[in-house]
Subunit: 415 residues, 2 copies
Amino acid sequence: MSDAHLPFDTAFLDRLADVAIGTGLNLQPGQQLVLTGAAETLPLVRRIAVAAYKAGASVVTPILSDEEITRARYMHGHYECFDAAPAWLFAGMGQAYEANAARLHVSSENPMALSDMDPAKVGRASKANAIAYKPALEKISSFAINWSIISYPGRAWAKLVFPDLSDDEAQAALAKALFAASRVDVPDPVAAWAEHNAALATRRDWLNEQDFAALHFTGSGTDLTVGLADGHLWSGGAAKAKNGITCNPNIPTEEVFTTPHAARVNGTARASKPLSHQGSLIENIEVTFENGRITKASASRGEEVFRKLIATDDGAARLGEVALVPHASPISESGLLFYNTLYDENAACHIALGQCYKDCLIDADGISDEALDARGGNSSLIHVDWMIGSAETDIDGITQNGDRVAVFRAGNWTD
Amino acid sequence: MSDAHLPFDTAFLDRLADVAIGTGLNLQPGQQLVLTGAAETLPLVRRIAVAAYKAGASVVTPILSDEEITRARYMHGHYECFDAAPAWLFAGMGQAYEANAARLHVSSENPMALSDMDPAKVGRASKANAIAYKPALEKISSFAINWSIISYPGRAWAKLVFPDLSDDEAQAALAKALFAASRVDVPDPVAAWAEHNAALATRRDWLNEQDFAALHFTGSGTDLTVGLADGHLWSGGAAKAKNGITCNPNIPTEEVFTTPHAARVNGTARASKPLSHQGSLIENIEVTFENGRITKASASRGEEVFRKLIATDDGAARLGEVALVPHASPISESGLLFYNTLYDENAACHIALGQCYKDCLIDADGISDEALDARGGNSSLIHVDWMIGSAETDIDGITQNGDRVAVFRAGNWTD
């Protein structure tokens, strides 16, 4: 399992590992690292382990998945099995985060891995996993620890993005796009990330000063008013986790985002890009929100998966995040559809169904479920982003006294 | 990561997967499976997942390790890190076994993986791991659940066994030897295993009828009297775990074994084969036991690792297992040194330092530490087998009234 077969310069993997540990996690001496990804990502995972131990990690524990093993379950598993989940592993992860372990996920998944499997089985297994994973996920979504996600150019994923290229050419092309978006194709990636984080912080601070009551999105089939949670906070780029460590949860990242009000979303939204969800592709989503809840939903492909998703629980049909990304972002300008949320969400304004980030609320530390609900923070087992932004997107901020402030015009910031 | 590169017929992997799930684990519908092994073993791990799901597994969770990641820690880890362990993962495993998950390990490790690393670091990390792993290990050693170990022909391991062959030739040769020893090179592996289990059961039952007070080993530098625990039980081949499932914990297996008396071992023992322990090779071990405890120890190679091993705790210098294997066993007759306990222990009579198998004691269910100790059952964080048998080994059974019964002569059963 050497690297000789890889059709790209592995020096970029070394830099990506350094950015993941230094900028993404800002891993501190003595921290354990829970490192998840597919077995295919080993060339990067190994370099991350080296970077982590150099930074003083106490133990790096790789938890490697495999698409063929995941598929084997749907192909051969007995009917009863799909309501089970490896609760023991998720409980262990929760315990690790409780003890201040950092968490890094290397994303390389083929978004179509499960598209030919029975959606009912996929839905049951997803729900069972979501329930079992909830205690661990809460440590992530409440930003209790430093965590990050980066990507590796997996071969099946690459063929989806570049269907007309050979396997090697496709992987090389995806690698080039990922390395550019992750800012590791410049001489000093760490300095480039510092500059980018500063630019995102300027946008974030302006939005926090405005303290809008709502955002009004129009364009490309969307006419949606997204009320913002009472005492919402905008985030973007580097942020300080509750364990005191400033990290970059997403590599790459182009968004500034906050917590909407779960009961104050009204209008229609049309997805501007396909949503790849746990191995299924969902295309042309159209939904209507009334008082925060989706009351009508359709999709030209994967509609059943989408309907099961929003039926996971009450909060699954309400918003937990709204994010602003200019159409002029590097990922958007690449013109590629990555079929991967981490990339596609950084190419367009988006909303997320499900669990909100409590970290995007003022004074929400240890907030009760009732108080969270009262301020508009949504609760759910899921958190699924999908894109509504495009080159036609206009956004007005609506102030607390009802005035309108132009925020986006034709897909980009007005200033 | 296709199988096209493998220099052996992968149909044997399908059979090995079937034997692992059917005979090794006897996996029952609804059981979860904790599946550990190196990432290199994926071609077999994937087939095991298929066989497991066909048998009704609810969830198969692969926990894949990687030699390069393990080595990265010793090469780059800070001084403090080696006293840490992934306790969260082991706690999770313990929880899985508590909930009746089965456990399968696929062994492929290069026994020399850590031989060039600092033995002090290896020793500290081993001890930290052993302490953290103890709650999960107890579920295995007390036979609470069905578990098994099988092997995969890893490339680095193959080069060690066949240093004069090319990489591909070595892997093919090791594959052939493993498939033969695992009885998957016959038309009906499951029937072959049933016959073999019956033969081992005959030996086991005879030894249990004899109820020897001790065994006296002589030959090849060994003159050792191994007292047996009060109310010891011999085991071998298939056995019923406490969850009611009859399984074969080792594939292959040629041994019948029991619990010695931790305070009644006297004399000298010389290792008849090198001991490969957590990446280090320990050669020509010679020890003297007095009243059960090692009082002198030497080795021509790896002596420091061995000394650290037996200093892990008080029980680490006492015996927890004694096992009888005829020199005429198939693995012994292959003439190969596998540098792997699972194989080499099935080529020769052996003893194990450390934790005893409570399952090799009559009425030991829920036995207190004090009662276990009183009967001679040893307790330790470790359990490490090493070989003392050879073509020269004679064994006398010493009955409760002091008579001698010939058990082995010149390395084989007397009958």
